[in-house]
Symmetry: C2
Subunit: 369 residues, 2 copies
C-alpha cells in the first residue's frame, strides 16, 4: 500500500505527565479524540490508516507539563463547527488535566467555514472610520425596561459611540423582551442621528435556539439593524456558523461567555469564533476583572487579524472593566485595528453626564496617535 495523503487537523493539548509515560498518554488522547475505542476494536484498514488520531510532536513545556500534537482526520469533522469542537476537545474536556492549547486547520478545511462576513473593513465602513480605532459600549444594567435602555442608548449615540451593544446577559426577558428592546433602541439611534447626522449601530444579543435566533435576526432587520451579537459557547458553534452563513451582510459580534478559562486557550477560542463567522471578537482585556495576561490578549488579537486561509479578519475587541483613562495605553498595545469596548465604567457616570462621558471616550480614541 502506498502512502495516502490524509487531510488532518492538528490539535495541540497541554497535559500533565512525565517523560516515561507521556507518549502513552498522548496515544490515549489520540484515540479518545478520534475513535474513542482501543486499537483492538479497529479491524478496518481505512479506519486504522485515516481515522485513528496520530500522535505528532511532544514538547515538555515545564516540569511535568507537556504539549502534545495530535493529527485528527478532517473527514471526522466535515463542515460542522460543533463537530469540529467535539473532535478537538469533546471527551478530553472531561479530563481535568487536559487543556486545548491550539489547533491548526489545512486550507481545505478552513474553506468549509464561513468566517466573518464583513471583517474589519466592514466594521470600518459601517462606522465611517477608515483608519482609527473603533468604539463600542455595552448598554446595561439588565432589568431596565426598553425605554430605560433607550435613554442610555440615545445618550451614547449622541456622544458619538459607533457600536452600542446589549449586555451579554440580555435575552428575551419579561422586563425587556427582545422585540420591544430592539424597537426602542433602534429608534433611539435614529433620534440621535437626526441631531448628529450619523447613525450609531445598535447590536442586539440573540438568545434561544437557532429557530428563535433566525426570528430575532428578521426582526432586527425590520428595524434596519446591521449587526447582532451571539455567544457561540452558549448557542453552540453550529448555530453561530449557520446564522453567519445565512447572513453574510450582517456584522456578527461574538461574546466569550461560557468560554471556560484555562481549559481552552483564549487565542484558540477566539479563532473558533472567527471561523464560525464572528466579525467582532470580544475578549476580557488584561488588567481588568479577568485573568488574561497581556501576552495572551496580544496573541489573541493577532489570531483574529492574521491571514487565515481565505477568511476575512475579525476585529479584536478588548473589554471587561475598561475605562477611558486606559484608552491610550490600550491602543499603544493593540494598534488601530481594534475596537475598544467600555461598559460599566461609562454607565457609572451620572445620567446627565453620559453624553459628555461617552464623547470623551470617543475623543480619546479618535485623538490617539
Amino acid at each position: 500500500m502506498g502512502a495516502t495523503l490524509v487531510l488532518r487537523i492538528t490539535a495541540v493539548y497541554r497535559v500533565a505527565g512525565d517523560a516515561a509515560s507521556i507518549e502513552a498518554r498522548a496515544q490515549g488522547i489520540a484515540l479518545e479524540q478520534s475513535i474513542e475505542a482501543p486499537l483492538a476494536a479497529v479491524r478496518d484498514d481505512y479506519v486504522r490508516r485515516e481515522i485513528v488520531g496520530e500522535v505528532g510532536a511532544i514538547r515538555e513545556i515545564a516540569a511535568g507539563r507537556f504539549e502534545v500534537e495530535i493529527g485528527l482526520s478532517a473527514a471526522t469533522v466535515g463542515d460542522d463547527a460543533g463537530q469540529l469542537l467535539n473532535m478537538l476537545y469533546g471527551n478530553s474536556s472531561l479530563q481535568a488535566d487536559v487543556e486545548l492549547a491550539d489547533f491548526h486547520l489545512p486550507e481545505e478545511v478552513i474553506a468549509r467555514f464561513p468566517g466573518p462576513g464583513r471583517g474589519i473593513a466592514g466594521l470600518r465602513a459601517r462606522a465611517g472610520a477608515p483608519a482609527r480605532a473603533l468604539t463600542c459600549v455595552a448598554v446595561k444594567p439588565q432589568g431596565l425596561p426598553p425605554a430605560g435602555l433607550a435613554v442610555l442608548t440615545e445618550a451614547l449615540a449622541l456622544g458619538g459611540v459607533y457600536f452600542i451593544k446589549d449586555d451579554h446577559g440580555f435575552a428575551d426577558q419579561a422586563y425587556a423582551p427582545f422585540a420591544a428592546r430592539v424597537a426602542a433602541n433602534a429608534a433611539a439611534c435614529r433620534r440621535a442621528a437626526d441631531r448628529t447626522g450619523r447613525l450609531a449601530c445598535y447590536v442586539p444579543v440573540l438568545s434561544g435556539h437557532y429557530g428563535r435566533m433566525r426570528d430575532q435576526i428578521a426582526l432586527a432587520r425590520e428595524h434596519g439593524l446591521a449587526a447582532v451579537m451571539i455567544a457561540p459557547m452558549i448557542a453552540g458553534l453550529s448555530t453561530a456558523q449557520a446564522l453567519a452563513e445565512e447572513n453574510r451582510d450582517l456584522i456578527v459580534f461574538a461574546h466569550p461567555t461560557m468560554g471556560g478559562a484555562a481549559r481552552i486557550a483564549p487565542p484558540a477560542l477566539m479563532r473558533l469564533f472567527r471561523l464560525v463567522g464572528g466579525d467582532v471578537g470580544i475578549f476580557p482585556n488584561y488588567g481588568g476583572r479577568f485573568g488574561y495576561s497581556k501576552a495572551t490578549c496580544l496573541a489573541l488579537a493577532e489570531g483574529l487579524r492574521a491571514q487565515w486561509g481565505g477568511l476575512k479578519d475579525a476585529m479584536p475587541t478588548p473589554a471587561g472593566g475598561m475605562t477611558t483613562a486606559r484608552v491610550g495605553e490600550m491602543l499603544d498595545a493593540y494598534g488601530a485595528d481594534t475596537m475598544l469596548l467600555i461598559g460599566g465604567a461609562l454607565l457609572s457616570a451620572p445620567p446627565e453626564r453620559l453624553v459628555e462621558e461617552s464623547a470623551a471616550f470617543v475623543a480619546a480614541v479618535g485623538e490617539h496617535r
Copy 2:
C-alpha cells in the same frame, strides 16, 4: 417599601480567596453574574432590589478555598436553558479560579423546563425490563461505513443489548452520513428482532444546529426509532430544550462531551441535562479513563433520580472504559435503576464472538442481585 418576594435561583461557586477578601469577591461574582456592572451604574430601584445578585452563605471548604452562594433573579433567566447557563456561569467561567459547584431552582423555575419526556419508567417500558438494570452499547469506531456499523449493531442486538447508540463522535460524515447510517442500523435491529422476538433500540446521535437536528429526528422517526442522542454542551442547552419540548415521546440520551471537567461540578452538569430533557444521563464512570471519583458518580446518579419539582427522573448511565467484569461491582454501587454502557471493551472482541460477548454482558446485568 415593604419586602418583595423575589424569585431567586441560587448558584453555588467554589472560589479561591482568603477570609479577609472573600466577601468582596463574592460581591464581585454577584455583580458579574447579574448586571455585569458596578453598583454605581444602577439607578433603578427595581434593578437594585430584584435583579442585582445577592450574596448568600459563604463557607470555607478548605484552606484558601470557599463555597459562596449567590441568589440570582429568576426573571433574568426566563424559560431558556441557554440563558440559565449564561446567568449561572457565563462570564465567571472566564475566571480561572471560579467553578460552578451547584445550583438550586425554585419549583416555579423548574416548571418552566421540560425535563425528561420518558424518564426511567419510559426506558424500562421500551426495554421490557421492569426492574433490572438496563444495558447499552456504543457502536464504534467511526470511519466504518453504514453497512460495517450495521453488522456490529445486528450482533449486539442478537446478543440482547437493549440500547445500541452511536459513538458520540458520529455526525454526518461523508463515510457514514446520518441518513444512510440510520437506515442501515434500524434495519439491522429489525433483522435481529426477527430472530430474537425483541426489537433493540438504536440511538442515533444528532449533530449540527437545531434546524438540522429537527430534520434528523424526522428521519429517525421514519425508520421507527424511539430514541436519539444529543450533546447539550456542543448543541447548546437551548437547542436540547427545544427538541425535548417538541418530542416528548422520544427517549433523549444526553452525552457529556465538552462538559469541561473541574469547571462545572459533574452533578450540576447532569442536572442541567435532566432539566433540558435528557432521559438518559451518560457520564464517565469512576475507575475508567476519566477522573470522576466514586462519590461524585454516586452524587450525580442521585441527582438524576431524585425528586426535582415535577420533572421525570433520568437514567444514570455510567460509561467510559467499562467492562463486563465490572458489572457486579457497578450495580452494587449504583443499584438497579441504572443503565450500564460499554463500548470499546465489547467491540474489542473478535467479530465472530460479538454476539456471545454482548450476551454475556446482558446476562451479567440480568443475573445481578
